[in-house]
Structure formats: structure tokens, C-alpha cells
Symmetry: C2
Subunit: 321 residues, 2 copies
DNA sequence: TTGAAAGCGGTACCAG
DNA sequence: CTGGTACCGCTTTCAA
């Protein structure tokens, strides 16, 4: 027998008060309620098992205190980590996150955005959006993460500087030919950082392999770099996933890491600590990014700004340390 | 200028019809509308940029077509994979999933459940719930995944059989001392499967290491097994995460895999394909489990049933194949 | 074929 | 300090 839900009316009746009083008690305001009445209401709530209906509340209040979060792929550890950090931060501030995945498809992405807006989310967090989804007629605050969009504010790690620091570390180990594994078009910053470091050290750019941001892409890129005429003694991978793929390509070719080829990756998700060898990484400060993104959504500032956050170099074995 | 939302009233007014007609057009029912009127309404919707308010709709209809999904940890690839499969399946059936993490804490878990119920979810999916959260006064269907609870239906892989098959494979490679890495109390099935296989082959149980379901736990367990007086030549890990930790312990001790020690893991998340060596795994059929769980929620069957799904053995290098 | 209106559950103002 | 009530946006019955 699916007991039909208890409403505020039931509570009011049971406690012998008006619905307004129930509301005052539940929300602790905006009017004061006599202690004794209050106790009666609380008691009624308890014994009836009343649970306020957030849907009705949202309709009345015009806000759901819910954020929509769209990632390209929930299975990617980086995005999973980001989602976790965002969920935590939002929860701490009394918000709930509606999380969904766009499967890396712009059409799905737009559909999900529409779906979320329909559900009256109070704000939208777009992680690495595939393209610029037309956000003009959106009446809630939007923030892009790990990608800057023309019309909305964004939060991202210091890609260029982080990459530079990672490559500089490889240079400090004495490497002179440093390859790069990078995504397709639209992600120039990490490549620029790699060039910055090389140029500053008077080194020529090593071979570059383009690949999707995936383990499979990294594996293919690793093989490509190994077969290169200008075979590198070190590789900077622009994502953890790619680095893991590079590692597998290296192992399968019988190349020793870091002795024959050293590796440094960008991202710093937990799995890099347990790869073999453990990966030296440039870590994205996910927690601070999440905090900033959620904060921005809540205060709802007007101007379009791009926030960047310093990365952290974590030394492990793959670089030769 | 945050343009305030366009409502159905605006559309009605603009199109010169009543709000009822707008509703008929938007929902394609329950009444027919004259083609010409319909066109006018559609036009109004388009030019005004009207987006139906799902909150109001939910209040009126009494259903949100939203499921709540609670995982112990969104960062765990297994749960991430499960969430992804559930999201996909739910989306295909016109539902949206409110996904959140309980951080492995029973108190948080209960709070999240309450929060979700407050938001009028149409059903609850509990992944590996920490304990039995009191689900008596819950008026929506609930399903547990990867853990069976006394009061609700559940969906899970054939743990025992899957583990048996994995261990049998190790036995077929000639191993006679096979260790086990398993979680704490409350997860007996995989251990039973390991025993089943051993007993059937007339082998004595190898050493058992208890560990949390994490990479760190697996690493500690791996070291423990290596130091065991009855050092195994093969290890069955009851989760991918633990297997990855075992691998790192093995590498760090200079043990060759699979030559010195072979490894097979339960779960089959994507990262196991790129570990070194790639892991032979007993894969959970996440897609079918998600389909069953979502389906069950939607048809809302009454009886408490426990559904199990056959696993799949995926042969890679870590077993010696 | 269309319009008017009731009501979903809750909030908060206005009276008392 | 508390009760009555209008309204949030939408669906759907009833009447026209």
C-alpha cells in the first residue's frame, strides 16, 4: 500500500493550526510562532512523517537551489573528480547538483542543457563543453569549466604555465628531446607551455602526436612517438588518460620508464599514483576550481571573466626522480 | 538584464488563445487543436522563446520523471561506469537522473536520500548502500545495486559464480597457491566463489588479505600477500581498484607479472585494459544491470526480488594468457 | 475547437 | 501570535 504523501494540510489539521503556521515552523520564519504551538506542529510533523514538497516550494519561490552539471563523459576520472568536488561544494552551500553526461556530443549537450533549464535549475556548470552552445536566451547563471567560452565566465587550471612547469622539470633531468601528446584543435595552451619551456632552454621542439583525450588515443600517440625519426627521451602528455596510454605503449615496446623514456602528465587524477611507474603529474586544483565555480554561480556576478588556478607539480617516479 | 522567464500565459496572450490551448499544443493532447491555431501557438512559442516549467508540471502531475542515484563514491570508476550506464538508460526512457555521492558515509547517505525524496524523485537507485537505510516510509520505488537489502529489490552481478570462474582460469594456468584480496565484512560472495573453485580442484585455500575497496587497500594487501609464508603464485582481487594496487605492490617488489605472480580481478572497468600488464578481469555487465534497475523502477513491481547477472571473463595478459 | 477555472503543495502578506 | 487567502505555472475537466 503506497501511502500517499503527507502534505502540509494534513499536518495543519492534525496539529489544529493553519497551514501558514506550519510553514513558519518548517522554515523558522518569517513570523515567530508560540513555543507551545511550535511543539505541537513539530510533533505532528514527526508522527505523520511529513516531508516538505520541494517541487511546490520551488514553484512558489521561483528557485530550486539546484545546479545542472554537464560533463562530456562521467567515466573520465578527471571529470568524475571535478563532479565530486562540485557536488561537495554545492552541498556545503545548500545546493544539489543534477549531474549528467553529454557523451561528448554537441547535440546531446544542447538537449541536456535544454532539459536542465526546463527543470528550473538555478545555474549551469558546463565542464569542457564541446562547442559554444547558444547560451543567449538562458536566464540563469552559467559557468564553463576547463574551457573558455565567449559569452560566459570560466574557471580552469593554468594550462600554459602548468605545462611549462612540467616540461621544465623534464628538462632539469637532462632531457633534450621532449615529445608532446596533445588533443586535437582547440586546446592550444598546453602546447604553448611546452614550447615556452623548450624555447627558454634553447631546445628545439620534439615530435608532437595528436590524439583524442583517451587512453586509447595515448597508446596510439605513444607508438607514434616511438616510431618517430626524432625519438624523444621524454614525453609530456597533456592528460592523464593519454599518459596511461603512452605508458602502455612504452611497456609493450619493451621501453623502460623512466630510464629510456621519462613521462610527465597533466591532470593528476588518483589513478596516476598507481600506474607503473607512478606518474609525475601537473595536478589541476579541482577543489579550488569547484569552489570558485559554485561560488560564482551563487553570487551570480555579471561580467564575463576567466579565472585560472595555479597547478601543482607532484613528483613521482615516471620523470626519473 | 536577466529577462524573466516566459510563461504559458505570455504565449497564450501573444497567440490570442487560452492557456489551455497552449497546453494542448505543447503536449500534443489531450484535445486536438485546429492546424491554424496550432501554427499560431507554435510561432508564439518560438518567437517568445518559451520553455515549459517542469517544476510546475511536476507539481500538477505528481511526478517528476526524475530518479535519484546515490553512489558511495563518484570517483570510483566502477560506480562512474554504473552511473553512466544508468544515466543512458534513464535518458532513453525519458527520465533524468539526479546523481549524488554519499562519500561512503551512512549519515550522509541518509541525508542524501531525504534530500532526494524531498525533491519528489520518482524512484531511488542505491549503489552499494553502506547499510540498510530505513526505507519503510519511502513512497517511491527503490532498488539496490551491488548489494542486497532486506526490504527492497536488488540487482547485482553473479559475484560468487564470477569469482569462481576467474579463479578457475588461474587454476587452468597451473597455479596451486592462489591468494585472495577481499573487502571487509559484508561481502562474502566473491570469497565463496574463490573457495568453490579451489575446492573443486582439490586445492587448499591460499592466503587471504582483507583490504578496503581502493587502490591503497590493494597495495597494502599485495604487500601482505608477498610477505606471506605461503606466498601465492597467483592472486584474485575482488575489485579492479584493489588489483591495480596489488600490481603496484608487485612491481615495487620487483615481482614479474604474470611470470612470478599472476593476477585476475573482479569488475572490469576500462582502466584495467591499460594497466601493466593489462588485467584479465571478470567483468560486471553494467549495461544490463542498469537496464534492469531502471526498468524495475519504471514498471514498479511490488515483490522484493534479487536479480543477478552473469559476468564475462575477459582474458588479457595478467593471468598468463 | 476553444475558454474558464479548479487545484497540485507551499509561502507569505494582510487582517485580526 | 495566528488564520485566511492569493498566487507560483501547468494540466485537464466541464461548458460553451
Amino acid at each position: 500500500m503506497p501511502k500517499d504523501p503527507v502534505t502540509r494540510n494534513d499536518v495543519a489539521e492534525y496539529a489544529g493550526v493553519s497551514t501558514a503556521v506550519v510553514s513558519y515552523v518548517v522554515n523558522e520564519g518569517p513570523r515567530k510562532v508560540a513555543p507551545e504551538t511550535r511543539a505541537r506542529v513539530l510533533d505532528a510533523i514527526r508522527t505523520l512523517g511529513y516531508r516538505p514538497n520541494a517541487t511546490a516550494r520551488a514553484l512558489r519561490m521561483g528557485t530550486t537551489r539546484t545546479f545542472g552539471l554537464i560533463t562530456p563523459d562521467g567515466g573520465n576520472p578527471l571529470f568524475a573528480g571535478l563532479a565530486k568536488a562540485i557536488d561537495r561544494e554545492a552541498a556545503a552551500r545548500g545546493y544539489v547538483v543534477l549531474q549528467t553526461s553529454a557523451d561528448g556530443d554537441p547535440v546531446t549537450e544542447r538537449a541536456k542543457i535544454a532539459e536542465l533549464l526546463t527543470r528550473q535549475v538555478s545555474g549551469l556548470l558546463l565542464v569542457a563543453p564541446t562547442a559554444d552552445p547558444s547560451l543567449d536566451d538562458v536566464e540563469v547563471p552559467v559557468i564553463a569549466i576547463n574551457r573558455v567560452l565567449p559569452t560566459v565566465s570560466s574557471v580552469r587550471p593554468a594550462y600554459r604555465e602548468g605545462a611549462r612547469i612540467g616540461v621544465e622539470h623534464l628538462i632539469s633531468h637532462g632531457h633534450r628531446t621532449i615529445g608532446l601528446v596533445i588533443g586535437g584543435a582547440g586546446h592550444p595552451e598546453r602546447e604553448l607551455g611546452w614550447r615556452d619551456a623548450l624555447a627558454a632552454a634553447g631546445l628545439a621542439p620534439g615530435p608532437v602526436a595528436h590524439a583524442t583525450f583517451s587512453r586509447a588515443g595515448g597508446r596510439a600517440a605513444g607508438r607514434e612517438l616511438l616510431a618517430s625519426s626524432d625519438r624523444p627521451t621524454a614525453i609530456f602528455a597533456s592528460s592523464d588518460l593519454q599518459a596511461v596510454g603512452v605508458l602502455s605503449a612504452l611497456h609493450e615496446a619493451g621501453v623502460r620508464v623512466p630510464d629510456d623514456v621519462a613521462v610527465v602528465a597533466f591532470d593528476g587524477t588518483p589513478e596516476t599514483e598507481y600506474s607503473w611507474p607512478p606518474l609525475t603529474v601537473v595536478r589541476q586544483p579541482l577543489e579550488r576550481m569547484a569552489e570558485a565555480a559554485v561560488g560564482r554561480l551563487i553570487d551570480g556576478a555579471q561580467a564575463v571573466e576567466a579565472f585560472t588556478f595555479p597547478t601543482e607539480l607532484i613528483l613521482r617516479r615516471s620523470c626519473g626522480c
